[in-house]
Structures are given as C-alpha cells and as structure tokens.
C-alpha cells in the first residue's frame, strides 16, 4: 500500500459521509404525511403531526409535549398563514434530525388565530440547530409561498400528487 492511499477515504466511507450530508433531513416523506385525519382539538392535531416524526425517530416524544406547551404558553402565533399551522419547539427539546411532517385535517379547525383561522394543514417542524434547518425552512417557504400550491394541497388525494408538487419546487 502506498502512503498516499492511506490519505484517501475509502469508497465505502465516502458514500457514508455523502449520504449523511444529503439525507440529514426529512421533508414530507411518505411516512410523514397523513391526509384527511379527523381531529377534534388543536392539541390533538399537533400531537398527531408530532407522532409522525416520533414514529420515524426524528424527534423524541418530549418534543411533542414541548410543541403543545408552546401553543399553551405563546398562543397560536404559529398559524402563520390562512389554513396553515407550523407547530414547533426548540432544538434542545429533543430533535434528532431536521424534519417536517404534514397532517391535512378532514375538517378545518380553529386554533384561536383571528387573522388566519381555520387551520387545515398542520406542518410539524422538527427544528434542528444544524444547517439542514435552513434547508428545510427554504423548502417550506418555496412550497407555501405560492398560493396555487396551497390550492393544490387542498384537493390532492394521494401522496404521489404531493410528491409531484414538492418535486416541482
């Protein structure tokens, strides 16, 4: 073995590092999306969206409690546009990976935000302190800043249709 070989990263290591770099976030993947869930209260909705992230081991269960506590303490300011709620907590509340899930409610629900109620889409945000957080937020902004995308979100009926919508942005 030549000396220079030892300086190089083996193909296996390289692909591992590369994979880490590319996949250290989860954005609306199939297991993170539920369409038309019947939900009775905002807390139930936040917990349902959070549970999707817990099930994929992207956040700890205590992060879900922290999201609900933030809603109780700070109010529904995270209903940041008509129909759209983005509950979240702090990275130190138990985020393992930057991530976003979506629950589309069967029936829209009032969260107490005068300007933007009712809520139909709950995007639970696993807020990490990493660079991936910025990337995740940019993806959310590019998806939701276009009113026509929100219209499509209302009527799409399968994950495949959502995937197409995300892919275009």
């Amino acid at each position: 073995m030549k000396f220079t070989d030892s300086l190089q990263i083996s193909p296996v290591e390289w692909s591992y590092q590369n994979k880490e770099r590319n996949f250290a976030m989860k954005f609306l993947e199939e297991k993170l999306v539920v369409l038309d869930l019947p939900v009775a209260t905002p807390e139930e909705g936040i917990r349902a969206a959070g549970a999707l992230l817990v099930a994929e081991d992207l956040i700890e269960p205590r992060y879900v409690d922290a999201m609900v506590e933030s809603y109780e303490k700070n109010g529904p300011y995270f209903v940041l546009a008509p129909l759209i709620a983005m509950p979240h907590a702090r990275p130190e509340d138990g985020v393992k990976e930057a991530s976003v899930s979506l629950v589309r409610l069967k029936d829209s629900l009032k969260f107490g935000n005068e300007a933007n109620d009712p809520v139909q889409f709950i995007f639970a945000l696993g807020a990490s302190s990493s660079e991936e957080h910025l990337l995740v937020m940019r993806k959310i902004v590019s998806l939701l800043s276009k009113p026509e995308n929100v219209e499509k979100l209302k009527i799409l009926s399968s994950y495949e249709e959502l995937q197409l919508l995300i892919g275009r942005n």
Partner: protein, 89 residues
C-alpha cells in the same frame, strides 16, 4: 437599519418571516440587518423595527422600535405593503 423578526421561540416562524422580509427588502434595495429572534430576547434588544404577528405585537408595544404586524407570512404582497407603509428609507 436593524429589523427584528420575532416569534415565540425564535426558531421557525420568525425565520420564515426573515427570509421573506429579506427578499422584499432586496427587491426594494433597502439595506438592513434582519435578525430572527424569540419574544423574550427581543425585549432586551435595540432595533429600528420589529416585525411580528398580531398575536405577539401586544407584548412588544413598550419597545422603542416601531412594531409592524404581518398576518400572512407567506403573502409577499402583504409583507411589501407593510414595509411600504412603515419603513422610511
């Protein structure tokens, strides 16, 4: 010019607001230092303007900075109108 985008935790909502505010300021060629921050830290920082939601604006009325309310964080037209009405160059 210093602008604070404020939300309850300073993690998610305020970052989205900051991204869209910076885009509007860029289009208007307004130079500003825009930060996203949580409500309690914001009360101890000095700034020229604070942009936040209606829900949190009341808690910030005692600040010397001018408070600007934006309701729809994804509506670039609303953000443009709010900046036009409040920020003087």
């Amino acid at each position: 010019m210093k602008i604070l985008c404020v939300c309850g935790l300073g993690q998610g909502t305020s970052l989205i607001l900051k991204m869209n505010v910076e885009e509007v300021l860029g289009e208007k060629n307004i130079m500003a230092d825009v930060e996203h921050i949580d409500l309690s830290s914001a009360t101890s920082m000095s700034a020229d303007y604070i942009i936040t939601s209606n829900e949190l604006a009341d808690s910030l009325q005692d600040q010397p900075a001018k408070v600007i309310v934006v309701n729809n964080y994804f509506d670039m037209e609303e953000i443009k109108a709010a900046i036009d009405a409040n920020i003087k160059q």
